[in-house]
């Protein structure tokens, strides 16, 4: 389908585009551009040294952004309130996807997590990314239903919402992808909190998270490698060859950037590929080394601007559903950003989550841009 196939559509595109929140669009565009340069910086030397196309990752990353951009635009086309109708379908697809990844032969394991579905041609998708959207929209829908009045959600509503969230969360937990579970849980708690549900739920859920996390480690539900990641966070010398090594290298790479950085494409740590997964989960180390405090601080600032603007949109709408979707998406992005950048700087334990809008990776990029689309959608329909 081409959106340029007739004039009516083109006009509507122009019209809509003009009405998008500019600050939101600008901050994400800036992050996308910087991210693209960083992915290129992280991979060009490496691929060139192997005699491969140095622009391989760059090209694919740009394609991912373009596809994601179309998805984002698509998301803004229909009134978000009508999106509710599709929510069960998206939720269902996500759950099916999450089940498929567990089936040997269909799902593939990368870095210890059974989280990907491989398609012929090397194309892989990560259903967990889809699940994030499904859960955010799903529970927002439940908690905002029949409530455009000032009445708050009942315990029953909260339980229903939790049930909807619990199925995909459990499936992600067994992959295991603890990082994503934490992000989704944060989004769920943020949505429930903002929905006006009884405070005891928020407090209770936070308590549950602490107790649950502790039990999971103790009962051995959490894989050894995750325990190792946790230990090496506490004591980076515990496991110098793998996890601890990665974290130490990551910190050194960021720290060595100093105030102004080594210059784009000129980071010796980056070019020497001392940090594994540089183009995906550890993309921020490239920013740290090559762009320095000024450049990586700018990235943090862009994220902050994005979140603050999204909060403004959430506050401006009179529609609880729209507000909850915004808060869910913000909490998702914010926690994912915090987990990812915090991990690269040794602030939080290592988890395998990508940096929104910047890391290389299709599923994540698509989901992020759809998330952006959702907020823009709310903005467009707030009058």
């Amino acid at each position: 389908m081409s959106i340029y196939s007739n004039h009516r559509r083109r006009d509507r595109f122009r019209e809509n585009f003009g009405q998008f929140d500019r600050i939101l669009t600008f901050s994400v565009a800036a992050l996308l551009i910087i991210g693209t340069l960083l992915v290129y910086a992280a991979t060009r030397n490496w691929f060139a040294a192997q005699g491969l196309d140095p622009e391989y990752y760059l090209k694919r990353h740009v394609v991912n952004i373009l596809i994601g951009g179309l998805l984002a635009y698509g998301t803004t086309l229909i009134d978000y309130r009508l999106l509710r109708a599709y929510t069960p379908i998206v939720w269902g697809l996500a759950v099916i996807g999450l089940i498929i990844v567990q089936i040997p032969g269909l799902g593939s394991e990368i870095n210890g997590a059974q989280a990907w579905i491989s398609f012929p041609g090397g194309f892989q998708i990560q259903p967990a990314e889809l699940a994030k959207i499904a859960i955010i929209v799903g529970i927002s829908m439940i908690l905002a239903e029949k409530r455009d009045t000032d009445a708050n959600p009942t315990d029953q509503d909260v339980l229903k919402a939790l049930a909807i969230a619990a199925v995909p969360i459990l499936l992600i937990l067994i992959q295991p992808d603890l990082g994503t579970v934490v992000i989704i849980s944060a989004a769920v708690v943020a949505i429930i909190g903002t929905s006006g549900a009884p405070t005891r739920w928020v407090v209770g859920l936070l308590l549950l998270a602490v107790v649950g996390g502790f039990t999971a480690v103790k009962a051995g539900i959490v894989d050894d490698y995750q325990v190792a990641r946790l230990q090496s966070f506490v004591d980076p010398s515990a496991d110098p060859q793998s996890t601890g090594y990665q974290l130490r290298q990551s910190r050194i790479t960021i720290g060595s950037g100093g105030i102004i950085g080594k210059g784009l494409f000129d980071g010796p740590q980056t070019n020497g590929r001392f940090v594994p997964e540089q183009q995906t989960d550890f993309i921020f180390t490239v920013a740290g080394e090559e762009l320095g405090f000024l450049g990586s601080g700018l990235i943090l600032l862009l994220f902050t601007i994005f979140f603050m603007r999204a909060f403004t949109i959430a506050k401006r709408t009179n529609d609880l559903f729209g507000r909850l979707v915004c808060v869910g998406v913000i909490a998702w992005f914010a926690f994912q950003t915090f987990e990812n950048i915090g991990m690269t700087m040794g602030l939080v334990p290592m988890t395998g989550v990508p940096l929104p809008f910047m890391s290389y990776g299709g599923s994540s990029m698509f989901a992020n841009l759809i998330g952006l689309g959702l907020i823009q959608n709310v903005h467009l329909r707030t009058r």
Binding site: A190, R251, G272, F311
Partner: protein, 694 residues
């Protein structure tokens, strides 16, 4: 929107702002506050220093003839980073190259392993450097072998051939010089731990002899190429590099021709002693300029081929260097061998006696034996010489005169119960000549000999009292003879006391007295020059490759007036008489240069490995010409027998070369130093140096 909803929204917003602030704070810490620390850490991760060793300076003799120099050698080396990528980790290639250079596959495998890669019990010879440095298999490859490697890179992946400097010993005068020159070797962990030296792991450094003593000058400054590597250690970028600075050349006081002659004379003396049925397990010979302390030749026997250090020691060679059975060739006997000086020590006794007021022109009785206490001390070979002059007594090496004098002086000092303010003329004289202390020669690991004075006795007694007092339970069964038990009983009672026997033995250089040959040379040098004690000096100057003089070593006086004009005059005459009419006359009969010297035939109370008693040590200490001394020549052959026959002849051989004696006459054309010991620095050009044969 409900109030609670709105409130919670603000809470979420505040939470997210705080998360972003936490990230910002951490980022500030890493990049700004601790940025420099992390920059250093990153640099140490990425950068590798590749060391390009400097050309090592040459060691040349006083006329510029090289004793040792770097020459181009061919090294075949292994690049581990290439081999490790092969499916079999390069095992086949290593076996192939081992066959090419004539080594065993296992040997080559082991020497190309990093030391940490093999268990400690199997890693002898392992590579002490890093993986991305070429690991040498041999430095003595032929051009043919090198070409084979270079032309068949498909058969020899990761193997390279390259010319490198190798230490070589031209031996232009026929000299060996292994002991005085020393050798070079790889830096080891102890060297690296030495914070005074800034060694690089890949450097070759001096390990012994002059190579060690003057290593800081000879070594030069290695060039460093800093490369930036990636995680797989492949070089991504070449960074700064410094060019190696060639080491300085060392000019010595040695003369290759004299060194060769000295080595030859020493070897001949040892072989002569052997063919006479002696054991003759080693020896030393020294030629010194008495007016400056310059060491003109320094020989030790047995010796070894210094080239073995370059080819790489086999286990057998390493063992042989230090084995008793092969005579410990590693021992540098001129300064590490300690021998009882015996009659050569009488020169010191003369000084002691003169200080004590004995008249050197008077006559003394030289009976066949002297009774000291209840013990008889016999003259050498128990011969009576009647009443003779002191000069004659030195010439014929009468012992009994010295027994009597030493005993009388011992009694005068209070005997077993020493008076306060004792004279101790003999010890005082010996101390005046620096005995019991190192000479300070510019070579490493010099021994100090032993001066068995009262303090020494006291110290030894403290250490051994327990043993002597419990001799019957502590000693070996075989040592429990009535005589040894009696000796132990005496030692237990008053082993700290200087007994008459000790004093008497000391006067003829026996008992516990020990001297190194270099101390002997210094002693006779001082007698010859009238009382100046020079520090024996091998090095003459340090010169840059461009000829610029970095440092000159001038003669160093460590003591003046160690003997009076009178004693000096008397000793010169008496020592001349040794050669003209005494114990040295046989060796030097008809020799055209006037030699003065003293024989020494020392008892050694030690035992050989097979339990047999050690044979006598043969000494000859001398200087020449007697009237206007220029050179001191000392030779010692341990277990060599008579000093007058074995060593005196050896010394005569050295003088023969030194003065160019042929057909009973001095031939100035054959003299090694026709114009005296060189005082001018030579032109140093080791590659083009030409030897003028005398």
């Amino acid at each position: 929107m409900s109030l609670r909803s709105r409130l919670n929204l603000v809470i979420v917003q505040a939470l997210i702002i705080s998360l972003m602030l936490a990230l910002g704070g951490r980022l500030f810490y890493l990049q700004v506050a601790a940025g420099l620390t992390y920059q250093d850490a990153a640099l140490s991760i990425q950068s590798r220093d590749v060391v390009n060793p400097a050309i090592r300076g040459a060691i040349v003799d006083s006329s510029g003839i090289p004793l040792v120099m770097d020459r181009p050698g061919m090294v075949i080396s292994v690049d581990r980073s290439t081999l490790d990528k092969l499916p079999d980790k390069g095992v086949v290639v290593l076996a192939r190259v081992a066959k090419l250079v004539g080594k065993t596959a296992n040997n080559v495998y082991v020497i190309t392993r990093l030391c940490g890669e093999l268990p400690a019990s199997e890693n002898a010879g392992c590579w002490k450097g890093t993986r991305f440095q070429p690991i040498p298999i041999t430095r003595t490859a032929t051009t043919e072998q090198a070409l084979k490697v270079l032309e068949n890179s498909d058969l020899f992946p990761g193997i390279s051939a390259q010319s490198v400097p190798v230490r070589s010993y031209p031996g232009m005068g026929g000299e060996n010089g292994a002991h005085v020159l020393g050798y070079v070797g790889s830096v080891n962990e102890d060297d690296l731990a030495d914070s005074d030296k800034n060694y690089f792991r890949e450097e070759t450094i001096g390990k012994d002899g002059l190579e060690l003593q003057y290593d800081d000058y000879l070594r030069g400054k290695a060039g460093i190429k800093t490369v930036i590597v990636d995680r797989k250690e492949s070089v991504t970028k070449q960074s700064v590099s410094t060019q190696p600075v060639a080491g300085f050349n060392l000019v010595t006081n040695l003369d290759v021709r004299l060194q060769a002659a000295t080595e030859k004379a020493l070897k001949a003396a040892v072989l002569r002693a052997k063919s006479a049925g002696g054991r003759a397990d080693g020896g030393a010979a020294i030629v010194m300029d008495v007016n400056s302390g310059k060491i003109l030749a320094l020989a030790s026997y047995p010796t070894y081929d210094p080239n073995i250090w370059q080819i790489g020691l086999t286990q057998k060679q390493a063992n042989d260097l230090f084995s008793e059975n092969s005579g410990v060739p590693a021992l540098n006997r001129p300064l590490q061998g300690m021998y009882a000086p015996a009659s050569t020590f009488k020169s010191v006794s003369v000084v002691a006696a003169m200080n004590a007021g004995y008249d050197m022109n008077a006559s003394y009785k030289c009976p066949s034996k002297v009774l000291i206490g209840n013990r008889e001390f016999a003259n050498f070979e128990s011969k009576s010489q009647g009443t003779i002059s002191m000069k004659r007594a030195i010439a014929v090496s009468c012992d009994t005169i010295w027994y009597q004098i030493a005993y009388d002086e011992w009694v005068r000092d209070g005997g077993l119960f020493p008076k306060s303010g004792l004279n101790d003329y003999f010890f005082t004289a010996a101390r005046g000549f620096g005995l019991g202390k190192t000479t300070g020669i510019d070579l490493p690991s010099e021994a100090s000999g032993r001066l068995p004075d009262r303090a020494w006795k006291e110290r030894v007694y403290k250490e051994n009292k327990d043993f002597y007092c419990n001799f019957k339970t502590r000693a070996k069964k075989s040592d429990l003879t009535p005589f040894l038990i009696e000796v132990a009983r005496e030692n237990c009672l008053d082993g700290n006391m200087l007994r008459a026997g000790d004093a008497v033995n000391f006067s003829i250089g026996q008992g516990d007295t020990l001297m190194t040959p270099i101390q002997m040379a210094q002693l006779y040098g001082a007698i010859a020059n009238g009382g100046m004690m020079y520090k024996p000096q091998v090095a003459r100057a340090i010169i840059k490759p461009n000829g610029q003089v970095v440092k000159e070593f001038t003669p160093e006086v460590i003591a003046t007036n160690v003997l009076s004009k009178k004693s000096s005059k008397f000793l010169r005459e008496a020592l001349r008489a040794v050669v003209t009419e005494g114990t040295g006359a046989g060796a030097f009969s008809g020799f055209p240069v006037s030699i003065a010297g003293k024989t020494g035939t020392a008892e050694d109370k030690g035992r050989n490995q097979d339990g047999s008693a050690k044979a006598d040590t043969a000494w000859f200490a001398s200087f020449a010409p007697a009237e206007k001394p220029q050179y001191a020549v000392v030779m010692v052959v341990s277990q060599g027998g008579f000093g007058g026959s074995i060593s005196a002849v050896g010394v005569k051989d050295i003088y023969t070369s030194l003065f160019g004696v042929s057909g009973g006459k001095v031939d100035p054309a054959k003299e090694i130093f026709p114009n005296g010991v060189p005082s001018q620095l030579p032109k140093v050009d080791p590659k083009n140096a030409k030897l003028v044969k005398p």
